[in-house]
């Protein structure tokens, strides 16, 4: 068996109704189930305990509803974000979310993993853009949460509960998003060769100057960090902001290729690590991660970073140490992917709210059949 997701049974429903029937059938048979979208994040979390059946979402690939005037799109889970963006682009709109592997990553997978990219700096995470969800529960019942309007506080926020739940609460069969207009202009400027402390200081000056980058990433290279800032909007606004930035940092230069470098870090491997800390803690994060010898991209306004590369001999111990330090400072470290043979805790210790998470799991999936053992604390 090459992957834990090569289960004896595979289903590929062509509609949500069919997905519900499949789930109901699997419930009746007491089968343990995993869900697979584009397969970009299958390494996230430990290998689930024995999977009997896989439900693939690629048959659920429709744009269900798109009314450009409302800037809202209802889609099925198997649609890739690339396909979604193509549909929105025709109306000069987009989903302001830029996770890695856009041509493969599906909406269901993006919601399930809470995937994001550097534009989170301005537009928020999946949780901030999703306004509705369609969830096929463990017992096959189809539940909707949220709706099709951007502003809506009716009932509990099931869409947010679904975000990052990694297929442990149900099959995410569809989602509804608010869209944004495509910007008229976009320009990336790079401030090169900064130390970790200088990145923090530069970001602080950018904020003090009331610049509003749409995306920001500090990319670690041989001569320090290159801080890439992307400005988006109408031409005049972008021009003013890049001009102001060049005054703040005379060494700033245009460099669109920064995002290619960034993407390489995000999609690299075989070891891939996500770290979370306060934005001003970059110097400590840098010190903790340096010994691992990985490539590193840090979102300096969010306090989130990704490192990737080959796992050295000491990797497991270094990861454990870095995690302990980050936890002590209120942060976290998640191993998103690891080479076979690297014995390392993927999620680290569960957060203080874990008892409630356990009850959520117990209530949604009482027989523990959905992706068992793959999420935090063995959920």
């Amino acid at each position: 068996m090459t992957s834990p997701f090569d289960a004896p049974q595979a289903h590929e429903p062509r509609s949500v109704a069919e997905a519900a029937r499949v789930m109901e059938q699997l419930a009746r048979e007491g089968k343990r189930v995993a869900f697979v979208g584009g397969g970009t994040e299958l390494e996230l979390g430990p290998v689930p305990d024995r999977i009997d059946a896989v439900v693939r979402t690629r048959g659920l690939g429709r744009v269900v509803e798109y009314q450009p005037a409302d800037m809202v799109m209802v889609v099925e889970a198997g649609l890739t974000i690339g396909e979604l963006q193509a549909a929105a682009r025709e109306h000069r709109q987009r989903l302001a979310l830029d996770p890695p592997w856009p041509d493969r990553a599906t909406i269901g997978g993006i919601v399930a993993t809470g995937a994001f990219g550097p534009r989170r700096a301005r537009y928020g995470a999946v949780r901030d853009l999703i306004i509705g969800v369609q969830l096929v529960r463990a017992d096959g019942a189809v539940a909707h949460g949220g709706g099709k309007v951007v502003k809506n506080v009716a009932g509990f926020d099931l869409p947010k509960l679904a975000c990052g739940s990694l297929g442990t609460l149900g099959l995410i069969a569809g989602a509804t998003f608010r869209l944004h207009p495509l910007p008229e202009a976009s320009e990336t400027v790079v401030v090169p060769g900064l130390s970790a402390a200088e990145v923090v200081a530069m970001v602080s000056r950018v904020r003090a100057a009331q610049l509003e980058p749409a995306a920001a990433a500090a990319l670690r290279g041989p001569s320090g960090y290159d801080l890439a800032l992307c400005f988006e909007g109408f031409g005049k606004g972008v021009e003013q902001q890049t001009g102001k930035l060049r005054q703040l940092a005379p060494s700033a230069r245009a460099a669109e290729d920064a995002w290619t470098r960034h993407d390489e870090v995000r999609t690299g491997g075989p070891l891939r690590v996500k770290v979370a800390a306060q934005p001003t803690q970059l110097p400590e994060v840098d010190r903790l991660l340096s010994p691992l010898g990985l490539r590193f991209a840090w979102y300096p306004t969010l306090g989130l970073g990704f490192a990737s590369g080959a796992a050295g001999e000491q990797a497991a111990a270094l990861i454990a140490d870095a995690r302990a330090e980050l936890l002590r400072r209120g942060g976290s470290l998640v191993v998103q992917a690891a080479p076979a043979g690297l014995r390392v805790d993927r999620w680290g210790p569960p957060p203080p709210s874990f008892p409630v998470m356990q009850r959520v799991k117990q209530n949604f999936d009482p027989d523990r059949r959905l992706n068992p053992g793959r999420f935090v604390g063995g959920l």
Binding site: L161, P183, Q210
Partner: protein, 518 residues
């Protein structure tokens, strides 16, 4: 003390929920006003929060009998005003030991009856917990207690050039804890999002007395997004005693304009075209003729008497807003604006916004009573639904003023009535319900920012299926399996934890494969 019989504790939240519902049986609720709790429970509560912070006098209790939705009233059995998380824990434990339901309350400005007491409840007022605990400008967050007033947060940050984005119209009196419970919005959430987008974490006391920290200043705590689930749960999951808020650097510039139109049709058209042009206004508000009349009467703004008015803000980097403001004004004129007025200074801008934000209260100048609705519709059908509302008003013989967040389709129809005229209150309520049904038919929602509370719970079953509601109840049961926290709110019927909401039970023949389902 009072009338009726002493009911010792064991009323239980389930019973309370059943008594409270269905809402149309309001008379029944009032009849149960007499439910009281035992002396020993009150003594314990007094000890927990101190004599002065435990309210039992009937006249004083009356202060807490309703929130901003004054048509529902019920006197709580006792009100406690704790000042620390530890005191809240004590209160919750005492309530649990005596089988009493708990109803949390902030400033009491909610418009859906979210803080409406239930029979025999311990009402937990959080107004005394109003400390700002920590501010970290560099990392963009602050930690506050739930009783802190929304506007106070931005006031505190203002000298440093920062602010807190959600700005409900009641922001000068409403509390952060109440905002968290209701997932409050405000005019500027079109661009910046709602409370849930600005809450990074919370400390919450659960019904069993345990204290949990959800999320925190650092993003992406591994595990379920319980912070996201908590915000907007209307006090049904726990009592929030600390909140970590995201704070933002003030934008470099703000441009505002006020424009008048012959009718809401042209104004709605302008809104659609501004948004289609790729502009994301910070806020874009519409008022119809009746709302304008009321605002003028209440605030003395010198707006002309016209069919509709728009008030719009764009903010961001200077060159960006100069451009978008110019574009928006041009589009408004093309769409038929009669007059476009730009404030000459910040004072005039504030006056324009004060006019808008005082709209609800202003309606009190032109009608003895009014009822606020909070329906949401897709932006593209605003004109159509407004005409439906007009038709409903005409048929009922009532006036309806419309003030709303046009950018996100969040309507606030104010149904005007005179309670002294027999039957008018019921009629107004009926019209309000029909408005919500029109919103549901148009693909929208029954509440955009005020919450479901006790008021709109009866409509939840029209917006959501039985499976949807049962799934939400799974979350509720994960936090509060006994249904002790704010029972009777949000859900149309009491839901018991423990029964698994099975979709159906297969027939043995079906299981053995001898019979299938079509």
């Amino acid at each position: 003390m009072g009338r009726g019989t002493l009911v010792d504790g064991r009323l239980g939240s389930k019973l309370a929920a059943m008594i409270l519902h269905p809402c149309p049986d309001r008379e029944l609720v009032l009849d149960l006003d007499w439910v009281m709790i035992s002396r020993s429970a009150i003594d314990s509560l007094r000890e927990a929060v101190g004599e002065r912070n435990c309210v039992t006098e009937p006249e004083q209790l009356r202060v807490y009998e309703c929130d901003g939705l004054t048509s529902f009233r019920l006197t709580p059995a006792v009100v406690v005003l704790p000042s620390t998380t530890a005191e809240v824990v004590e209160v919750v434990k005492i309530a649990r030991a005596h089988g009493l339901p708990l109803v949390p309350r902030g400033s009491g400005t909610g418009l859906s009856g979210g803080a409406l007491p239930v029979p025999g409840c311990v009402l937990v007022g959080l107004a005394r917990m109003k400390r700002i605990l920590e501010i970290d400008l560099d990392n963009g967050w602050m930690r506050v207690e739930p009783g802190v007033i929304n506007l106070e947060v931005s006031r505190r940050l203002s000298p440093d050039g920062y602010y807190y984005a959600p700005d409900p119209s009641s922001q000068s009196v409403c509390s952060i804890g109440g905002n968290v419970a209701e997932n409050s919005g405000g005019a500027h959430c079109l661009k910046y999002g709602f409370t849930v987008n600005h809450v990074l974490g919370a400390r919450v006391v659960l019904a069993d007395g345990s204290v949990l920290d959800l999320g925190g200043p650092v993003l992406d705590t591994p595990g379920y997004d319980l912070t996201g689930a908590l915000v907007g749960s209307e006090g049904t999951l726990g009592i929030v005693t600390e909140v970590v808020l995201r704070i933002l650097r003030k934008p470099e510039a703000t441009r505002t304009f006020f424009a008048t139109f012959p009718s809401t049709d042209e104004a709605g058209h302008a809104v659609s075209r501004i948004i289609a042009a790729g502009i994301v206004p910070a806020a874009i508000e519409m008022m119809d003729r009746l709302a304008i009349v009321a605002i003028k009467a209440a605030t003395g703004v010198d707006w002309p008497d016209v069919g509709a008015a728009l008030l719009m803000d764009v903010d961001g980097p200077l060159a960006e807003v100069e451009h978008t403001a110019q574009e928006a004004v041009r589009i408004a004129r093309e769409a038929g604006a009669l007059l476009v007025r730009l404030p000459k200074d910040e004072a005039e801008r504030q006056t324009m916004w004060k006019g808008r934000k005082s709209a609800f209260a202003a309606v009190g100048r032109i009608s003895p009573n009014y009822m606020v609705q909070d329906g949401v519709i897709p932006r593209s059908v605003i004109a159509q639904v407004l005409r439906e509302i007009e038709g409903l008003a005409a048929r009922a013989g009532l006036r309806i003023a419309n003030v709303f967040h046009a950018g996100d389709g969040n309507l606030h129809p104010l149904v005007l009535y005179d309670a002294r005229i027999h039957g008018q209150e019921e009629l107004a309520e009926k019209v309000g319900g029909e408005i919500l049904r029109a919103c549901i038919r148009a693909g929208g929602s029954i509440t955009g920012e005020h919450g479901v509370g006790a008021d709109k719970a009866p409509y939840m079953g029209e917006l959501f299926s039985e499976d949807d509601l049962a799934t939400m109840a799974l979350l509720r049961c994960s936090f509060d399996p006994e249904g002790r926290m704010n029972p009777g709110k949000i859900f149309p019927t009491p839901r018991l934890c423990g029964d698994r909401p099975g979709k159906y039970t297969p027939h043995p023949l079906e299981q053995s494969g001898e019979a299938g389902r079509g």
